[in-house]
């Protein structure tokens, strides 16, 4: 009997251990549907003093960044992927770069650049710059890189925006002429670093040719501030400071990118001191970071992408082909209130989708259709729809911050003026295919820009009939866009964009656009500021002692 009791005692100990383990997490047990996006820790946990040896502390001289996903490839020319762009931005360089504060386009790998004639741009290169493998940065490297990027065989996803580049002529060891098929005023902008917009990184010709594309994709070599060390799939990408960097060595030794898909886990890692910088912090997480005392929040809408709702005027017949109806829809929506309520203020209303810092922004235009339901009703009546109509707003599934809620709020406001709008949500891959086939009608939400472009040219992609993704058509708009694209004189180009915006204001081909904040969580030991396009540039970051 006594042996029996011992055995039972053992069992009780095991059970108690299990209770401790599970019971700790047993607080309020929500049903699966009620799982909060960011659960707060259960209150029963007693505040415990920090143990003497805290687990996995961050290694010294190493900055650890948690990304929401993993890079697809590290060959800059072959992706359109934020998670890949972030390490790449630190491995490679571009010919030019914008000034972070003034947005002025400045030389970077190039020493200077000038327009020789309408279709020829000359770039003089910085001397003495070397790739991480020792290859020299010279005219041949620039020729190779630009021509590789526009070569259809490379199948670069961003090729379209620099497809006007015809070829590159080598003038001497450190001078190249970039020859374009047509006048291409945007060429300098496209030579600055940005995301996915054909911003061409300079790659080493000998290495790339010798090792082949497949090898280069996982063993990139650039001229950037950090050298590639190792990529362990789904675990980390490790970079090391390039001590020979032409602007001087970075302030710390290692830069590590790790993919952590779950936002709550990224937050936990930051709070536990296991990450220096986390991306895509949600507004609900901000108070926790601020209260933690171990990290802080960096938030900005500057250079953020513009999220807009396009409405068609020709692909699908219906009330929306009448501009008064499109104006009425805009007047009916109170986006300020929606941003305050749904994004908790972590965003800003833009109106016509062009950043206020962008080249060609018309500062004279009044606010884009202020909230005025009475006027909306009047316009609808004038257009012959006093009782409203039914329409669909297509929305991606959580591609943008609280996108579905914003769409639903817009639908609710439209109902007040008689428009019954239903929100149709699509999974991302389906959405991307459908928008290319112009099947998301009559209106759909999509984001544009945010790649550091800051140029009126961006309007092409939502307003030009010929754009693969535009569902709006207007001959005069097309003419102005085409003309601006081929105008080399900046002043004239600016005038064209001003005129264009006046026309677009009147035409209302989009429901007012907004920008969501980019929110980062930053450990106290990291001194870092977001870059203008919110893609991480870690060269200027420092680790506090």
């Amino acid at each position: 009997m006594s042996r029996n009791i011992t055995w039972l005692n053992l069992g009780v100990i095991v059970v108690l251990a299990a209770m401790l383990l599970l019971g700790a997490a047993c607080g309020p047990t929500p049903t699966p549907t009620k799982v909060p996006a960011m659960p707060v820790p259960p209150t029963p946990v007693p505040p415990t003093p920090v143990p003497p040896t805290p687990t996995p502390a961050l290694p010294p001289e190493t900055v650890v960044i948690l990304q929401p996903g993993e890079a697809s490839t590290l060959d800059w020319h072959k992706h359109c992927d934020m998670n890949a762009h972030e390490p790449d931005r630190n491995i490679f360089d571009t010919l030019l770069r914008r000034d972070m504060k003034t947005l002025e386009i400045k030389p970077h790998l190039a020493e200077s650049f000038k327009l020789v004639k309408d279709t020829v741009w000359e770039f003089k290169l910085r001397k003495g710059v070397k790739f991480h493998n020792g290859e020299p940065l010279n005219a041949e490297a620039v020729k190779f890189s630009l021509e590789r990027f526009v070569d259809p065989k490379t199948a670069a996803p961003g090729r379209g925006v620099v497809a006007l580049i015809d070829h590159v002529d080598i003038i001497d060891e450190y001078t190249v002429n970039v020859v374009t098929k047509e006048p291409f005023p945007l060429l300098p902008v496209r030579m600055t670093s940005g995301h996915c917009g054909g911003n061409v990184a300079i790659v080493p010709p000998k290495y790339t040719k010798e090792k082949g594309d497949a090898y280069f994709a996982t063993n990139p070599v650039g001229t950037g501030p950090f050298k590639f060390v190792e990529w362990k799939k789904d675990e980390y990408i490790k970079l090391e400071a390039n001590t020979d960097y032409f602007l001087g060595p970075p302030a710390f030794k290692y830069l590590v990118f790790k993919p952590v898909p779950e936002p709550a886990t990224r937050l936990a890692a930051l709070l536990a001191g296991q990450a220096d910088l986390i991306i895509n912090v949600t507004p609900e997480q901000i108070p926790r970071i601020e209260a933690s005392g171990v990290a802080k929040v960096k938030e900005t809408t500057f250079g953020a992408f513009m999220i807009m709702t396009k409405i068609t005027n020709y692909v699908q017949p219906g009330p929306w082909t009448d501009k008064r109806v499109r104006q009425a829809i805009n007047h009916a929506i109170d986006l300020d209130t929606i941003i305050k309520a749904v994004l908790k203020g972590h965003g800003s209303v833009l109106g016509l989708p062009l950043e206020k810092e962008a080249f060609g922004k018309n500062p004279k235009l009044p606010e884009y259709y202020p909230y005025d339901p009475e006027k909306a009703k009047k316009l609808l009546a004038e257009a012959g729809y006093p009782k409203g109509f039914e329409m669909t707003i297509h929305c991606p599934n959580r591609r943008y911050l609280n996108d579905i809620e914003i769409a639903q709020a817009m639908a609710a406001q439209l109902e007040k003026v008689g428009i019954i709008a239903s929100v149709q949500v699509w999974e991302q891959s389906v959405y991307a295919t459908k928008w290319r086939l112009k099947q998301l009608l009559p209106a759909y939400i999509v984001a544009w820009g945010g790649a550091g472009l800051f140029d009126g040219d961006i309007m092409t992609y939502w307003a030009h009939t010929g754009s693969a993704l535009s569902i709006y058509s207007n001959k005069e708009v097309d003419k102005l866009l085409d003309e601006a694209r081929a105008t080399m004189d900046p002043e004239k180009r600016k005038e064209l964009y001003w005129k264009l915006q006046e026309l677009l204001y009147e035409e209302a081909p989009v429901i007012k656009a907004w920008q969501q904040s980019h929110i980062f969580g930053v450990s106290n030991r990291l001194d870092w500021e977001p870059w203008i396009d919110n893609i991480l540039l870690m060269y200027y970051a420092k680790l506090r002692k």
């Binding site: 095991v14 359109c80 789904d234």
Partner: protein, 305 residues
Amino acid sequence: MTRYIVRRLLWAVVVLLGVSVVTFLVVYLTGDPTALYMGPEGTKADYELLQHAMGFDRPLYEQYWRFLSGAISGDFGLSLRHQRPTLPLVLEKLPATIQLALAAMAFAMAFALPLGIISAVKKDSLLDTVCMIIAMAGQCIPTFWLGIMLILIFAVQWHLLPVYGRMEWRSLILPAVTLGAWAMARTARLTRSSMLEVLGQDYMRTARAKGLAEQIVILRHALKNAAIPVVTVIGLEMGSLLSGAIITETVFAYPGVGRLAVEAVVNKDIPMVQAVVFVVATMFVVVNIVTDIFYVVLDPRVRLK
């Protein structure tokens, strides 16, 4: 026995073929992946160029045939996203997933068997209730929530364990507990009911009447007989642990096959989805066969024809 195994393996090939057709169709039906791999500013011509480069402009049957003929020779094609052969990538991640599944199973068994046995032996006592509450909790707490809670308590609050990744052995603890909770709960409840059934049998009374110690009666006579359905379930659980670590691997950013699967599906990386499904399905089939063999060993009444 050998013939039985060979026949099972042949069936496994048919199963895998069926699985490949179904996955291919399901992934394909949701649309052409080209759009996802394009720059947003790309033109129609760029789209066609990329579509051709990825082979999605070919008829469906041709695409499937290309996949199948490659797969037979072990070539599952290049990942659309990574432009690297898919099978080596999956196999590279397999050890991590197997390690996690084994750890989860070890955790589950270490708790499930004692919990089940105790609550059966002490039926209707307070101890029984407590044990079953724990088991119920394991079954009804969502994996996602449990994972996050464990992280908040053990990593953020107490700084005892790593939050994410697979850097050292301690990285395995939280994911294993999270993943194993469900299997633990299910097995504990099954052990209890199975034990209760056996405890009422005549041979139990006989064993006690022989004067055997209670411990021996329960462990050797009751447990061995109660274990038969339990083993079946453990086998099935092992299969799900190997393939069902998707949520756990995502929450803990654990680099296993589940993460690969999520990434592949989200990015519509068809060759990668195919390779992952093939590997997971193979494991599932193998585990099932092994379970059946165990079954034979445990239960002499089951004879193979």
